[in-house]
């Protein structure tokens, strides 16, 4: 391992005692042999660790708790009412639509209703369908005429249908 890697380790895990026993032994063996890394470890401890050791700790003043108590009492979202407030907020969300979304939904609904009410536009396919149906009607009428002509004058004769043959 290079001195650079050892020094990275010194700055972090070594100084903070986070190294495994095996790695620590390996690093300490290197320190006995490398004056540069030894010097670096000493400077790092002195410059980056020792200044923060045994720092005086602040004690919270009685006024701080008084302020917090007061702030909690004035808080619009106290913990006890929190569940109720949450429920109300969730309920509102269920029925909440942002204004632009509501407007858009209204417009879409109106368009759908108009399309349903208005007659469908006549396209080429539609004309072809109408023509086809008309031709069928003409053929049907023609066949009826032929059927009438095939009957005899007293009305005997038939339509030539299978059902007629069945009953006759």
């Amino acid at each position: 391992m290079s001195c650079e890697k050892f020094q990275e380790m010194i700055l972090t895990d070594y100084l903070d005692r986070e190294l495994s026993a095996q790695r620590r032994a390996s690093l300490e063996a290197h320190l006995t042999q490398c004056p540069g890394c030894r010097e670096f470890a000493e400077q790092a401890r002195k410059g980056a660790v020792e200044p923060f050791e045994q720092l005086e700790r602040l004690k919270p003043s009685p006024q701080l708790w008084a302020n917090i108590k007061e702030a909690i009492e004035e808080d619009p979202q106290p913990a006890v009412r929190g569940a109720l407030v949450d429920f109300w907020e969730r309920l509102k969300l269920l029925f909440y639509f942002p204004r632009p979304a509501l407007a858009l939904a209204t417009v879409v609904l109106m368009i759908v209703m108009l399309l349903a009410v208005l007659p469908k536009p006549i396209g080429r396919n539609h004309i072809a369908q109408v023509e086809s149906v008309a031709e069928e009607e003409v053929e049907y009428l023609a066949s009826l005429m032929e059927g009438t002509e095939s009957m005899d004058s007293d009305g005997n004769g038939g339509y030539g249908t299978a059902i007629e043959e069945y009953f006759l």
């Binding site: 990275e8 700055l11 972090t12 895990d13 100084l15 903070d16 986070e18 400077q43 790092a44 410059g47 980056a48 660790v49 200044p51 923060f52 050791e53 045994q54 720092l55 005086e56 700790r57 602040l58 004690k59 919270p60 003043s61 701080l64 708790w65 302020n67 917090i68 702030a71 909690i72 808080d75 979202q77 106290p78 913990a79 006890v80 929190g82 569940a83």
Partner: protein, 184 residues
């Protein structure tokens, strides 16, 4: 210092005595972390007040997945970092701090004899760092949290903790080197 789950549940249900218990057990480290991240007692007290208001509001959401102390540290660090980033107060008072550091390095005094100067140097050293590095270093060097605990508190990878601490210490050593070169 440990806060039982029972106290947390009682406080979440609105018991003011239980919440006061939580305050008494946590206010010290909340105030000190905020103080070291922000560098001024009045800012730290303001942040402490905000932290306990947040704790009070969010207690009902605490699911006991993490240790309560870790959760409180996380809120404290987040509020402190946000405060530091938003604050217009220039924490980076490098020039005057370097003079104090030089005096500290030269003086052969006990820390008790010159606690005030030492506090200024510590505040100056932390002021060199960005808020994320500062929070990591404070949790490690002042609060003595392990890398794993810091990772859980800040919700970051343990290697990110290593990287932040490494860069923070490199920055501190660079400043010290500069000061020492000027002194000698």
């Amino acid at each position: 210092m440990d806060i039982s789950n029972d106290i947390v549940k009682r406080a979440a249900a609105g018991d003011p005595d239980a919440f006061e218990e939580i305050y008494k057990a946590s206010a010290g480290y909340v105030l000190n972390v905020a103080y070291r991240v922000l560098g001024a007692r009045e800012d730290a007290e303001e942040v402490t007040q905000d932290v306990f208001l947040i704790i009070h509001r969010k207690l009902k959401d605490f699911r006991f997945d993490a240790a309560f102390k870790t959760w409180v540290y996380r809120i404290t660090v987040n509020v402190s970092i946000n405060y530091a980033k938003k604050s217009n107060k220039a924490r980076n008072r490098t020039v005057e701090f370097k003079e104090e550091l030089a005096v500290c390095e030269q003086a052969n005094q006990t820390r008790e004899a010159d606690q005030e100067l030492h506090e200024k140097v510590v505040a100056g050293l932390l002021g060199v760092l960005n808020p994320d590095q500062r929070a990591c270093l404070v949790l490690r060097s002042v609060e003595k949290l392990s890398y794993q605990e810091i990772a859980e508190t800040l919700d970051i990878n343990i290697n990110t903790v290593r990287t932040r601490i490494k860069r923070a210490r490199e920055a501190l050593l660079a400043v010290r080197k500069e000061v020492m070169n000027n002194v000698l």
